[in-house]
Symmetry: C2
DNA sequence: GTCTATACCTCGATAGAC
DNA sequence: GTCTATCGAGGTATAGAC
């Protein structure tokens, strides 16, 4: 077990696991099939029986990642019972996730930067992921605004979209600066959004 | 003149012009030296007398682009004499620029997505560019807050950093969605920042 | 399904003539 | 400075044995 190959699961699972790691860390175009199959411990022939092209694998990678991230995020949020804490901690969760990724940023926006064609399946997948992210934020905001009468003057969609832009802005700034300061500022922004003095 | 080669300037200028266009539109790793020299109308030998490596060219590209964007942006802002209009129109300028780029987004964040090493010269250049962008926003905000006594309760750095996060968030959302709606939301955010009812 | 072997191309980079 | 020719490596993808 001295080699750093992935040992568990079927050949397809191991390929996908290796690709997921390498695409995210190194980038899509910078990662070759050879490195993926070395890491997965399969042959080139096996690779092409499971995935027709590299783009196929890229799409499967984003699909899996979208599912993992959305499910994981929803689970973490569900564990926070208080709507106000959930509203605030969403930002903290994103901050910690960003730190734990080594400030590598969002897999979907990073991939979009490498695939210029806005109509490609990969770009459509990225858009789909952002729509899911946006929906999660909307739910969090809606739960908060319904939890207390003092929020009755606020519009759910407006607050949610502002929250979304702030989150994405914090994410990209954090990736560029390799630092968490944008999330500290983002927390002030989302507090101000619901009428708190900051 | 049937070929789409770049005809003006020295060999170095033509190489840089071709690279600037191709790196931005296609991405860094997806663009090969061969395509650049074809477009520039020079030979491979000539290329390597002017640039030691591809990364050298990549860095020169970002350098030139940083200079062009910063200068261009500062000039457009300088033409707007009213601080309040300048504060609002900054967002509009970014929106129009984003549309005119075909929603390709920021050259520096796109490049950062392809170069994982946060300490590489290219990533440092990206960070430098964002610092410049941030400084421009700070100047715009400062001019506004000093222009009227009604803003005396506001902190320049706080408003500027919130503006920055909103801009970057609108930029990346706009790139993902291939649409200008994030900038429409961003305008509301920056109006709210200076105490306007939205 | 999985392997080895390989076809064919393009990559970044260099050598040497002029 | 600029050209042509070419290097070795690595790119994606396929063929055929087991």
């Amino acid at each position: 077990m001295s080699k750093s190959t992935i040992q568990r699961g079927t050949a397809r699972d191991r390929i996908l696991a290796a690709a997921s790691d390498l695409f995210y860390r190194q980038g899509y175009n910078a990662t070759g099939i050879q490195q993926i199959i070395d890491e997965a411990g399969v042959s080139k022939g096996t690779f092409y029986t499971h995935f027709k092209t590299k783009d196929d694998l890229g799409l499967a990678y984003l699909n899996q990642r979208n599912h993992e991230e959305s499910t994981g995020l929803r689970q973490m949020l569900a564990e926070i019972k208080d709507p106000y804490q959930r509203y605030l901690n969403f930002n903290t969760i994103m901050k910690e996730w960003m730190k734990s990724s080594g400030y590598r940023g969002c897999a979907f926006s990073n991939m979009s930067a490498e695939v210029p064609d806005g109509n490609s399946p990969i770009r459509k997948m990225a858009k789909f992921h952002y729509e899911g992210f946006r929906a999660i934020i909307r739910d969090v905001v809606e739960d908060l605004l319904k939890s207390d009468a003092k929020y009755k003057g606020l519009n759910v969609q407006y607050v949610a979209d502002q929250y979304m832009i702030t989150q994405v802005g914090a994410l990209l700034n954090s990736e560029i600066y390799q630092d968490e300061w944008p999330y500290v500022h983002a927390e002030k922004a989302i507090r101000a959004l619901i009428g708190e003095k900051v």
